[in-house]
């Protein structure tokens, strides 16, 4: 079983505390919800956990290994849709797939189909609607069948049909054994999807309980 252990994480930037003593253990096969107000530190937490931001102190262990030494695949969806505008969605995903070289063209096409995008569509990325961009970001997050999946405000720009599809994908990923973390301020996302809920407040993370956010 995959496991993500977070202990004593602190992060500050220019004297401002962004994360304060974060401790948690996340296990594979479960979906964890992280909720909290805007600016509470949810995105920073995800960036620190995925190694995009350095933490000042503490440890983040992926299956017992430090993130820099870990070979685990990490899937991330954040509010950043800056793909190469001059390429199609498929080409953008192929570029990312080429970094770790663990999947091929067929896997990329399958991921696009799972999120409801046509892999043969030659539309350039800059012509994509916001919803299509969000689906493409989700496709890049799941295409390598990651052991750890981080989804930050995933349903922000997706329509109702897209939200249902997204719920289904998250459940499938958890059933596969992945550790799934979802940050959202949308109560329905948290209530419908998560097994355990954490609250991010004043840059600290506290366990809110077993899926009972009102």
């Amino acid at each position: 079983m995959h496991i993500l252990e977070v202990a004593g994480i602190n992060k500050s930037h220019k004297g401002k505390i962004l994360l304060r003593d974060i401790n948690a253990v996340f296990e594979g096969g479960r979906v964890y919800g992280i909720t909290g107000k805007n600016g509470a530190g949810k995105t920073v937490l995800f960036k620190v956990l995925t190694g995009l931001m350095l933490h000042d102190s503490g440890t983040v262990l992926y299956d017992g290994a430090d993130i820099k030494k870990s070979e685990s695949d990490i899937g991330l969806l954040i509010d950043d849709v800056s793909f190469y505008p001059e390429f199609s969605g498929f080409k953008n995903l192929m570029l990312l797939a080429g970094i770790r070289n663990k999947i091929d063209k067929t896997d990329v096409m399958r991921a696009m189909e799972r999120v409801g995008l046509n892999p043969n569509d030659k539309t350039l990325f800059w012509k994509y609607s916001l919803g299509m961009k969000q689906r493409l970001v989700l496709a890049q997050a799941i295409m390598e069948q990651p052991d750890f999946l981080f989804l930050d405000e995933p349903t922000n720009s997706i329509d109702e049909t897209g939200v249902d599809l997204f719920y289904q994908i998250v459940r499938e990923e958890a059933e596969r054994g992945a550790v799934v973390l979802i940050s959202s301020h949308i109560k329905s996302d948290i209530n419908n999807l998560t097994d355990e809920v954490y609250l991010m407040h004043d840059n600290t993370l506290t366990k809110a309980g077993e899926n009972n956010i009102d």
Partner: protein, 243 residues
Amino acid sequence: MIRVRSWKNILKILSAIPIALIINIDSFLSAAGSVDMNVSRYFMSFFVGEVTYGDTKTIVYAMENLTFVFLFIILFGNSITEKMEFVPAYYFTRIRNRGRWFISESLKLVCSAFIYDLLYCVVILIISVIITGRQIESELFSTFMCIFLVSAALMIIMTLLVNIFTLNVGTTFAFIIACLIILVLCICAILCQNDKAAFLNPLSYMHDNDTKIDFLGVGILYDYIIVAIICIIGYRVMEEKDI
């Protein structure tokens, strides 16, 4: 997909050939049939000028002959850091050790600079042989190597600096800062007015004692040490950069 980007890089490198021809065309046309110097000296005249420090004549790279260097910097100035501009989050969740990644990208840049520079120098050399109409002399090899190595070092230093500064201040300011650094080094060397200070000047490598040109091998080595230092700085910057 990756092949598409490789082709773009190959085209950028091959641009050295038309660049060599276009920016020097007036020199070729005006010199045809009227050059009375050996191949080595004529070849050098496309890159360097002569400055006298006391009794010593030092040959320095002339800014007006460095268009090809600046074009390389423009072509490759954000080759490494463009990944920070597009898809940074999704790119770097797949690359855990960003420092090591920066070093490998820097090595690719070094290779590109060497090939681009070699193409440029070879085109100039061929034209020099044609225009002077003379036999290739023995000193040509060392002249060629010196010019080739120094130009490549200059391109690599500037391009790496632009890439690193781009992370914090954007490409335009990064280019200006990199130029200013080279300029400051040149001014330091000129103000010091002695042989040793020439090492500060990345554009100065040769002493001309009229009969023979002495190359400052140590100076070239110094440039490549700077390249290594910049790579280490880049490694640290990338490691500590928050995305």
